[in-house]
Symmetry: C2
Subunit: 309 residues, 2 copies
């Protein structure tokens, strides 16, 4: 049996100890632990890494604390538009969706696109119709309404300013969520989900639904899920870049993640982070911001959730 | 002054000499030459590689022969949905759009997203609204109507079958268009544009709007524009893969293109091709199908348009 292991993130940004109350901090840690354990328990029961990342990301989507699923931020015209993607490192199959509204768990929809459609990436109304055709769970506007998110939006509404959900708000509520996992069969997988940026132009697609940028998995190299300034992650093709440094330049997982996040991404002006693992059970949580909501758990007893640097 | 050069493609597929009449072949060659020359003349006049690729792709979009712009195929519900992207190798800036309808030149819209929006990738209604806000040229349904495309669609309508526009039809009309160029400043750029797949599920996004998969440009390595089975090009992160093989594995441009198209893409079941150049003026036109509409022209006198192997 391989070293089953899993890592998750709930977004990276200017998270400082003085900006979170003790209670809030506990709340975050509790949900992170819950999401981590839910995925890990599946792995223990012999489920696949795909099942585990889908489960962990779903749990984060179900919380109002993170900018994905239930906690998604408001776009410029007051709607919620969600993006997600998933990739199977054993087959290089993948699924992605963008600009969906009302879907309870976008990550589950991305997996359904992978498994039940002839396409890889569906967007907007077409993605919604597909979701209905495969009986995806929908929720009404109330479910996605959050007072804090609404205030965040009202403060920016009508202006040209948008925020990455981790840069300007007083009480920073951080973004994108993701997971990477290794199962007992030695297969790895990655998944990412986001509600985008507060007051973003509607129709904006970020890196979370882009295979190669926000999500990538390949048994030969690594599984990666990213979070941060999406446009820069697309330009840097960040997730696949980590994989290429391992495959072509023979870097270790840790070296590759450092190179990409601390040097290559920074060089073009991008901030954020990623979680990555390989099929030897190595886990890396790398970011160039002040903090990243994150956690990791593996068969050798490692089990932690962390927020700050 | 650098070796100004440009290459274009009009799609790859099962193009055989016996499937095109002499007249049709001349028609294709004429438009390819016109598009090639239009971009090249700009380069001669001292324009940037970005201007040149935008010009050449626009010319191909303006023809009914290729599956992009005017010649776009019909989706499953009888509409036209177009994708495009562009990337500047000197800044790594990029722009992308997907699922737009009625825009005369999607490649021009992708450049406007890069230069005039705060985002990199806009899709659907949001992209349309942005297009209107920057006074993009629109055309009505009649402009995009083509009898052959309509027949192609009617033959598949109501079925679950879709076609890549280069696999099933009797008179093959080939797909996606693209261009790569090197200007006198030593900067390279790439652009791609497509009308998708006949009878595709609406909302399907292919590789043509994905930076890293369908389009990539970086002065340090190469500029690439792809065409083929989009889902496989996304899974293979094809355009960036060529760049990584050059940067990390020190392959030549030709070696990298062969490795990616003849081995890595084929291994996962993908078919298609790409055009690529570097800032030394090397040009590669690589495909693993029976033919690819293509052309290249450079300052040293090279000037050709080719269809078959």
């Amino acid at each position: 049996m391989k070293n089953i292991s899993i890592a998750i993130h709930g977004g990276a940004g200017t998270i400082r100890k003085d900006s979170l109350t003790k209670t809030k901090e506990q709340e975050y840690k509790q949900i992170l632990q819950l999401a981590l354990d839910a995925g890990y328990q599946l792995l223990e029961q012999g489920a696949t890494s795909l099942d585990a990342v889908e489960m962990s990301v779903s749990k984060l989507e179900d919380s109002h604390l993170f900018n994905a699923g239930k906690g998604s931020v408001f776009t410029a015209n007051g709607t919620h538009e969600m993006d997600a993607s998933i990739m199977d490192g054993s087959t290089l199959e993948a699924g992605a969706i963008s600009l969906v509204t009302g879907v309870k768990n976008p990550v589950q929809l991305s997996r359904l696109v992978m498994e039940k459609s002839d396409h890889l990436f569906l967007s907007g109304e077409g993605a919604q119709d597909f979701a209905r055709s495969v009986n995806c769970e929908f929720r009404d506007e109330d479910y996605f309404y959050d007072e804090f998110r609404h205030q965040q939006w009202l403060a920016l509404k009508g202006s040209d300013t948008f925020q990455l959900d981790h840069s300007l708000s007083k009480e920073d509520k951080f973004g994108t969520v993701g997971a990477v996992a290794l199962d007992k069969f030695g297969n790895i997988a990655a998944a990412t989900s986001t509600g985008g940026m507060t007051n973003k132009m509607y129709g904006r697609v970020g890196d979370s639904s882009i295979i190669g940028s926000g999500t990538y998995a390949n048994n030969l190299t690594c599984a990666v899920s990213c979070t941060g300034s999406g446009e820069y992650f697309i330009r840097g093709v960040v997730a696949y870049d980590v994989s290429c440094l391992i495959e072509y330049k023979k870097m270790s997982l840790a070296e590759a993640c450092t190179e990409v996040i601390q040097y290559r991404l920074k060089k073009i002006g991008g901030d954020g982070g990623l979680i990555a693992l390989d099929n030897n059970g190595n886990i890396v949580l790398e970011f160039n911001t002040q903090g990243m909501y994150r956690g990791r758990r593996s068969v050798d007893g490692l089990n932690e959730v962390i927020i700050y640097q």
